[in-house]
Symmetry: C2
Subunit: 156 residues, 2 copies
């Protein structure tokens, strides 16, 4: 945590270049860089990541959260947003929000030729469960708390 | 609220061009435009404003919150951040965070010649009180809930 109010350049922060997903989902989200702005600023109730998604990569598997709402604000480049409604392009300067508890999964895919950079903003809720309509994946299953599991609860 | 996941251009949203402060503080924060991205996306636990602060205006009076943490991400232009540590310049692409409960007031001032645009991100907490170290102002005084008051509790 930096001093309160010290201006930060996100690119000065250490990047997480991995994905917590088990394979084969992990590879679909790389290469990607995440920098935890909220953590670096000492915030505790909100997660704010500065994410760079390189051409070909997906932000996540298509998912929705039971208790965590999200907003993505695109800073540079262009992404394809996939939801139940189909595909939509989202460009630098635009945003999209996802209230908690709506079973319409979303993901962003970089189908362009340049990196896309965006902020992902979410509340933190210990009761949250993420559901993945397209793949055999579940986060924070009661049978495997804090871990990715198959839909039937078996851990990966 | 738009459909879930519909990409939004912030500038398509209606702007609040006023300030809720009583005078003489209100005028110091104008001209300014705020667009409530979080509300438009149906979010309830996080407030996310897209704010345009014109030359000469201040984001707020210098303040700190008891229960609401904040992060400001500058999208365009340049601002002067004022805290107990003095003044610091914050530019497009940079951010600054303010954990709740630290009695170091902050404000941003546009001393440049072009509009500054930024996102302001905060959790929502009904118990929150804002304190203003430099001026005779208090938000959500127990004597005047939800209203601006003098430090002794008298409403403006």
């Amino acid at each position: 945590m930096k001093s309160i109010g010290t201006p930060m350049n996100p690119l000065d922060l250490a990047a997480n270049r991995d994905s917590g997903y088990p394979e084969p989902f992990r590879s679909r989200c790389l290469p990607r860089e995440k920098r935890a702005l909220g953590d670096a600023a000492g915030l505790t109730t909100i997660g704010i990541n500065h994410t760079t998604l390189f051409p070909g990569a997906s932000s996540s598997m298509r998912h929705w959260h039971t208790c965590e709402e999200e907003l993505v604000f695109v800073l540079a480049g262009e992404l394809v947003l996939v939801t139940d409604a189909g595909e939509a392009t989202i460009q630098a300067g635009q945003c999209a929000g996802f209230p908690a508890g709506h079973s319409d999964g979303h993901q962003f895919i970089n189908r362009g030729s340049v990196p896309a950079v965006y902020l992902e903003i979410s509340n933190r809720d210990e009761q949250d469960v993420a559901h993945y309509p397209d793949v055999d994946l579940r986060l924070d299953s009661p049978e495997a708390p804090g871990r990715y599991a198959h839909k039937d609860g078996r851990p990966y």
